[in-house]
């Protein structure tokens, strides 16, 4: 924030070069953009639903997670309980999606129960809140997380 000051080491404090109006304009622009982002973005671009109903009383939504180049995108997805996530395989080979093991049941929180072929998808509806990590069983480095807000 103290940029470009070394040229000015010997400069004595003087009036700023830019008129006050310029900085006021910058601040107003920032305020407008912050307001626009809060209005349009909610929590970011990837939170925009793929398909949605009218939000008068929040309807369940469907989100899409795409698998491509060994990456699940969005890698972190925040949804609400009752929403459905569709995992779409756009990679070069089939992928098996498995949630981490539930410590109580000893079984994955969710599982595609077999490989998802290239171009196909697997959908899962998250009924309860929680943090659900998952990975590709073929390569556990390829992973993602679904954060589900409780109703």
């Amino acid at each position: 924030m103290e940029s470009f000051t070394s040229l000015l080491a010997s400069a004595k404090p003087k009036e700023p070069h830019a008129p006050v109006n310029f900085w006021v304009l910058i601040i107003l622009s920032l305020v407008c953009m912050v307001a626009a982002i809060r209005f349009l973005g909610e929590s970011g671009p990837a939170d925009a639903p793929v398909a949605s109903g009218t939000p008068s009383e929040r309807a369940a939504r469907v989100y899409t997670v795409t698998y491509k180049f060994g990456v699940f995108s969005p890698t972190n997805l925040r949804i609400h309980a009752g929403d459905t996530v569709t995992f779409r395989n756009e990679g070069p080979r089939s992928v098996r999606i498995a949630g981490t093991l539930n410590p109580r049941t000893g079984r994955p929180e969710f599982d595609s129960n077999g490989p998802v072929p290239v171009g196909s998808s697997f959908a899962f509806t998250f009924a309860e809140g929680g943090v659900f990590a998952y990975h590709n069983s073929e390569n556990e480095q390829e992973a993602g997380v679904i954060i589900v807000r409780a109703p």
Partner: protein, 291 residues
Amino acid sequence: MAQRTSLFITELFLYAATVAVGIWVAFRHLTLKLPTVIQPIEPTPENILIFGVVLIGFTVLIVRTARLGGWSLHVAMALAVLVGAQYVASGFLPPPWHTVFGAVLAVAPLLSRSQYARAWRFVSRFAPPLLLHNLAMVVAIAGVSALLGSSLTPNGAVIMLAALSVYDIIAVYRTRHMVAIAERMMISGAVFGFLVPVRFSHLFDTGEQAGDMDRVMILGSGDIGLPLVLASSVVSTSVPSAALIGAFSLAGLGLTHWLFMSQREAMPMAALPPVAMMSILGYLAAILIGL
């Protein structure tokens, strides 16, 4: 004119390198750390209040620290470099080597400053001090920004960026404490930011004149790192959005450079607001395009 162009190319080169490294590090850690989840901080009123208190406390601290003496700035800078470089290195090196990497980079800029004249003369015979300093800064700022960005939601990062832009204007033109801190950093030689020579080729100079503070401009760490915080906060949801924010922040750097060069005489200038404005505009564009 040629000198101004060369100056801008050098700035752009260092800035673009930092943005690229920062986005890569944020993405790399996202895939490495899963399924461990860091819950991002939401911009709630309580969090904004805490942020304000921390900001005021930080200002008081750095103003007082600047008065204490050069050594305290050196220690603060070395710690920041250590944290940032270690975070970057942990993306491709196993422990404890990432800590070793961070420690080496933390010491390198200190050696290249004139206060450590004997060590500096030794280093400058073999390695260009300006390049050494700036490479350490690229890694350190990218690491710290990626670390901070991954713990914030995009909305939180936008509010932080806007608030710090207003703070920058006040700190440069009203209270002038930012100018005082910059001058103190130059005197002590502990500059946490880029040292941009007027010509790109001067980056590779060796010898005793290479790190001469009269021949360089400073681009502060906040101006470089804060837009990268916004880009890093978006990486977990959309890498193309992060890249677009990075590209817009580069345009913001161009706008800042033009504003600075259009001054009738060289004066301290708040560089963050134009860069922040363009970065936020980039994020807005990403939302509208649907990246």
